[in-house]
Amino acid sequence: MAVSAAGDPASRRPGVARTVLSADDITRIVSRMAHQILEKTSGGAGVALLGIPTRGVPLAHRLARRVHAVEGVELPVGSLDPTMYRDDLRLRGVRPLEVTEIPDGGVDGQVVILVDDVLYSGRTVRAALDALAAYGRPRAVQLAVLVDRGHRELPIRADYVGKNMPTSRRESVAVRLREIDGADGVVILPPASAGDAPPNDGPPADGDQVTGDEAGERA
């Protein structure tokens, strides 16, 4: 498969991990996204943030802190594990489950913003929408992602995008956050180090963001 997407041409050398966002970039992006959330939701009234584990959760908390710093509103923050709603469970080994923590106010009638680190095939988000329905009926559901790397397999788009990042399917995008990984940064890992994701294996890279980061980290 040819590398079809254009990144930063200078650093696009095969076999080398490229840092695409620095810690400062991420701080600025989160700050901008917090402002966009406030703008789009008219001050954040009735908004709840639900992070998709693992890295969506600290991102949701960061967004909530920024929103609080800007306008003084406390947005409820929780987490939503979509694993048991995935459509690719039978294609791979069993996945460990993560925490689901719905904020005390519940999700009925709220504007729920799902937060994740990377948007890729869209399958995690689809599973998260199904998972959310088990907990109630939000007034609206929006999606905030730090990185949109393209290659959607479902009609899903994000309402808030930190950074659009064209990638090849064979690369993996690793988002690192200080709460989990000790330091902030976004790195694109080349195919060679993408470990367990051989090209041309049936449904293209059946995972999305989750697979993306994990493949990278374990490489």
Binding site: L89, R90, R95, A134, Y135
Partner: protein, 307 residues
């Protein structure tokens, strides 16, 4: 996780903790307004019960249905088994019907192990003779962890008919693996011959052990498995090894009283103790569903290959 859950003796600490952690997540599902998950849609779970059991069978059935699996109950009574069909033929029948998991209870120790060699799906031991009952031990450990915050370092006392109890055996192995220290208390006639090789302390004096226990687990006296006189009278058994209010007062304030059910009130446990705040009997039933959901998810949720 292995493909089958046949005993706790060969369950590693990591796998046991994985089951408990997964069960914790499953318990949260019970708090959602929709308690059904699509996870095992299209999978078939067969409950193959050669021995009467309502609570274990129902618990597995509820667990499988919450995960959207199809459940087939196959009980020995009224089936071809009562007409003389062998276990192997039954297994082949289930295999042909495409069972993804077989939950098996059998009066013969080791029957699920044999079954596991004949079917392609996963086999879950739901109690075999006087050998093991792994999901019961897992739900007991899960209950301890939820109530006391940990299993590691707990002093657990198992009291009663250890000889005939698969619950006791499964708990001894699992709790030891998880770092608890186990004491068994029973009349000498109700201890198995090989108990000295178990990783447990043995005591014949319940009163002496109670104050040091974090958890006391009462076992039912299994009359249906008793072919001889193991103790003189029920009253004498009850007086020496039954847990009544006076005895329970010797327990530490935080200590739990557990019972795998069904209880014989007035025999091994008095009604007041069974219904007291330290009794976890009802919680154990609810936790049983969460733990069995976890086991079915871990065995059937993936592609069957471990990653």
């Amino acid at each position: 996780m292995k493909r089958h859950l046949l005993s706790t003796e060969d369950l590693s600490r990591d796998d046991a903790l994985l089951v408990l952690d997964t069960a914790e997540r499953m318990a949260r599902v019970a708090e959602a307004s929709v308690r059904k998950l699509p996870t095992l849609r299209g999978r078939t779970v067969v409950n193959l019960f050669f021995e009467d059991s309502t609570r274990t069978r129902t618990s597995f059935e509820v667990a499988a249905k919450r995960l959207s699996a199809d459940v087939i109950n196959f009980s020995a009574r009224g089936s071809s088994v009562s007409k003389g069909e062998s276990l192997k033929d039954t297994a082949q029948t289930l295999e042909a019907m495409g069972a993804d998991a077989v939950v098996c209870r059998h009066s013969a120790s080791g029957a699920p192990h044999r079954l596991a060699t004949w079917v392609r799906g996963s086999v879950v031991n739901a109690g075999d003779g006087t050998h093991e009952h792994p999901t019961q031990a897992l739900l007991d450990a899960f209950t301890m962890r939820r109530r006391l915050g940990r299993v590691d370092g707990l002093a657990v006392t198992i009291v009663g008919d250890v000889l005939h109890s698969r619950v006791a055996r499964s708990n001894v192995w699992l709790l030891t693996t998880l770092g608890a220290s186990v004491t068994v208390v029973a009349p000498p006639t109700l201890l198995p011959l090989g108990v000295s090789s178990w990783p447990v302390e043995v005591s014949y004096d319940l009163d002496a052990v109670l104050p040091k226990s974090d958890v006391v687990m009462m076992l039912r006296v299994q009359r249906e498995r008793m072919s001889a006189a193991f103790f003189p009278t029920e009253r004498e058994y009850s007086r020496r090894y039954g847990l009544d209010v006076d005895r329970a007062a010797r327990l530490a304030d935080h200590a739990l009283v557990m019972h795998p059910g069904p209880m014989v009130r007035g025999m091994e446990i008095s009604s007041q103790v069974a219904d007291s705040a330290r009794s976890t009997v009802v919680e154990q039933v609810a936790n049983g569903v969460s733990v069995r959901m976890a086991v079915l998810y871990l065995l059937l949720g993936g592609s069957g290959e471990t990653t």
